[in-house]
């Protein structure tokens, strides 16, 4: 949509709807003879990394029901804090029965931007589904990192809100990260 002579508005979003698997992860629902692989199945080549972590959780709606029809996408740097082509992207859905998702990945490193701004290790997360008109963006941080100098968390600046962005550590290789779309534990969503 034209705004002025040389500037246009971004195309509006629409919900991804209940059948998004057809387009985004067809192999997951048994359409496995059109595209060889679904995209984002492994964010990093597993065999090259020994320290694979698991981040598991659910996405809860306003009735505290865990959802199984959402699509989650994540984007992250490698363990050295570098964003590189061909790695770092994952796309997954919760298990149909347990309604839990699991992201297997490597733990990202801290990032220092060209502007010198410090960011604690984090993963960008986007959530799309029926009922979500515009996909929701948030971040996953890690409980066992120093988060005191992170540029984004310093903007949020409220402890209970910041806590919604922090994955809880179960053991060395396992974290829990639940997302609440509404309610008193509502996750902080970001206008990125």
């Amino acid at each position: 949509m034209k705004h002025s002579d040389n500037f246009f508005d971004e195309t509006p979003f629409q919900t991804a709807g209940p059948f998004l698997h057809i387009g985004c992860s067809p192999n997951l629902i048994g359409i496995n003879n059109i595209f060889k692989n679904d995209l984002g199945v492994f964010p990093f080549e597993k065999e090259k990394h020994s320290n694979i972590i698991s981040i598991s959780g659910s996405v809860f709606d306003g009735n505290s029901e865990a959802l199984n029809d959402v699509m989650i996408e994540t984007w992250q740097c490698n363990d050295k804090g570098e964003y590189l082509d061909g790695q770092g992207f994952a796309r997954f859905v919760p298990n149909e029965e347990t309604k839990k998702f699991t992201l297997k990945t490597i733990k990202p490193g801290a990032v220092i931007g060209l502007d010198g701004k410090f960011q604690s290790p984090h993963i960008l997360m986007s959530i799309s589904s029926r009922g979500i008109n515009m996909n929701l963006n948030t971040r996953i941080y890690f409980e066992d990192d120093d988060l005191s100098n992170d540029t984004t968390l310093s903007i949020i600046n409220q402890k209970d809100k910041i806590n919604t962005l922090i994955a809880k550590k179960i053991d060395k290789f396992n974290y829990i990260f639940d997302v609440y779309l509404q309610g008193n534990k509502e996750t902080v969503f970001l206008d990125i």
Binding site: Q14, A16, I22, G23, P26, I31, N63, E73, G113, N133
Partner: protein, 239 residues
Amino acid sequence: MKSLIRRNFDKQPIANYPDYKSSSLRAPKNKKIYIPSSISEISGPKFNKNIIGKLDNDLTLNYSHNNKVPIGQKIIVHGKIVDQYYKPIEGALIEIWQANASGKYLHPNDQNDVPIDPNFCGSGRYITSSNGYYEFRTIQPGAYPYPNRGIEWRPMHIHFSIFGKSFGQRLITQMYFQGDPLIKLCPMINSIPNKKAKKSLIGSLDLSLSETDKLLAYKFDIILRGYNQTFFENRKEGL
């Protein structure tokens, strides 16, 4: 450092739109918190062209069995992926999905009592070249009923998912078809309050590309967010 142009929510759908019932339990209640672009938002996955198969953007052939073709009216959907300065975006990944001619998705959760088409899966994908251009050959999707405020009908539409150059440019939307009387009744498109923005989701009949003896074409350009390169540019655009 370059940053993404700040998103204008006046031109986007309302998250909690009561006429679209599914949004009531899924739209967050709190305002989104704005964060300036960091390297994380302005970098993003890049998809190599070699993931794309020869028929991935031809839905009339990519699920054909024994050389049989899907039923329905064959169409071309095409356009450009550009940024907010209408600069073409090369290497953008477009994934589409849609119902077949009867209004049925090849999805186990689609309960509508109309037939699947054994030669049509409804999914396609493409990566743009330097001019930002894309083209799909497909079948005109049917409208279909779904439960909302009672049973309502979705207008004919194709879902689009686009990755540009960065995670902050990510866009998921739907294209509608010019002249479909169901558009104005659809709560999903009506969740966008701005009229012009709504209209920008309607693919227009494009006789210049139609092969008049065989198929019609629809044109749908998609605008992803642009970047502010400098403070000066930022001011110039009045943002």
